[in-house]
Amino acid sequence: MAEAFESFLSEVLAPPTRDPDRAFVAKVQARMALEQGMEAQRRALFGKFFRDLLGIAAVAAGLIVMGGSPELLAFASESPGAVLAIVAILFSFLLLVIGRGGPRSAGAGADPALFNHLARLRS
């Protein structure tokens, strides 16, 4: 009885004997390709973020340095409207530069097909 049970158990719990499942292998390969694509996209986004950050820091540093200049302070007190206009132009330029590198052009790896493929794999 004990032997019969032991052999029953090991027989039914053993992995099935069959050929490799190539469809499953292909699915894993597709996931790998997808992961690689997403990793490239992540890297591109981080790169862009740091470049933008650097740009903003440079502009801010420039403004601080310029703000310390006595000639500029004198000019600002004489014609505050002109200074306001210059600041507004600079700010618009900054927005334009950052906006140009927005999600649509962020990249290299931004591929909607990639996300559709991911959705199909997960379904």
């Binding site: 049970f5 992995p15 099935p16 996931r31």
Partner: protein, 167 residues
């Protein structure tokens, strides 16, 4: 190191160096037992867990050093994926564990009444030929605990099996 381990180590190193064909060979070689084990544990979610495990194994390919069998190393990754899955979702009903093939409905019933570690220990040691030491390492329990877990699981199954025979 066995010849099989050496072959797997070589493939894993090639995979770590970016050779995806080498990793595909590892998947082809190890998917059958891994998925059979996971079907016993996760039922219909088995293939998702298996895919996740293979992707993690691919990312960590450089860490495989050939000391353990590749299947042991891979199953350890899959087991962690399974535990993550259990933590991330509400406890999976035992009934979701699907039978692997046709005449195993009674086995499915038996296994569904075991706890997760009991089921894992029994499937690996009695079905997949793992040593108690390997299974203890996988489950993170002392060897003695593992042995008593297997014995308890087997005793429970035997009672159910005999009950079915009587009925």
């Amino acid at each position: 190191m066995t010849a099989d381990n050496e072959e797997d180590l070589a493939l894993s190193r090639r995979a770590a160096a970016g050779d995806s064909a080498a990793f595909a060979m590892l998947v082809e070689k190890h998917e059958r037992p891994l998925r059979a084990f996971l079907r016993r544990m996760a039922g219909t979610d088995a293939d998702d867990v298996a895919q996740e495990a293979f992707i993690k194994a691919w990312r960590a390919a450089a860490q495989y050093d050939g000391r353990a069998r590749y299947s042991t190393w891979l199953t350890r990754i899959a087991w962690r994926c399974r535990l993550d899955q259990l933590r991330g979702t509400k406890p999976v009903e035992a009934e979701t564990a699907a039978p692997v093939d046709a005449p195993t409905d009674e086995v499915h019933d038996m296994l569904s009444r075991l706890s997760e570690p009991e089921r894992a220990a029994l499937v690996l040691c009695d079905g997949h030929g793992w040593t108690h030491v390997e299974a203890a390492e996988l489950l993170g329990v002392p060897l003695g605990t593992l042995k008593s877990t297997v014995a308890r699981a087997k005793a429970k199954c035997r009672v159910m099996w005999e009950g079915q025979g009587d009925g």
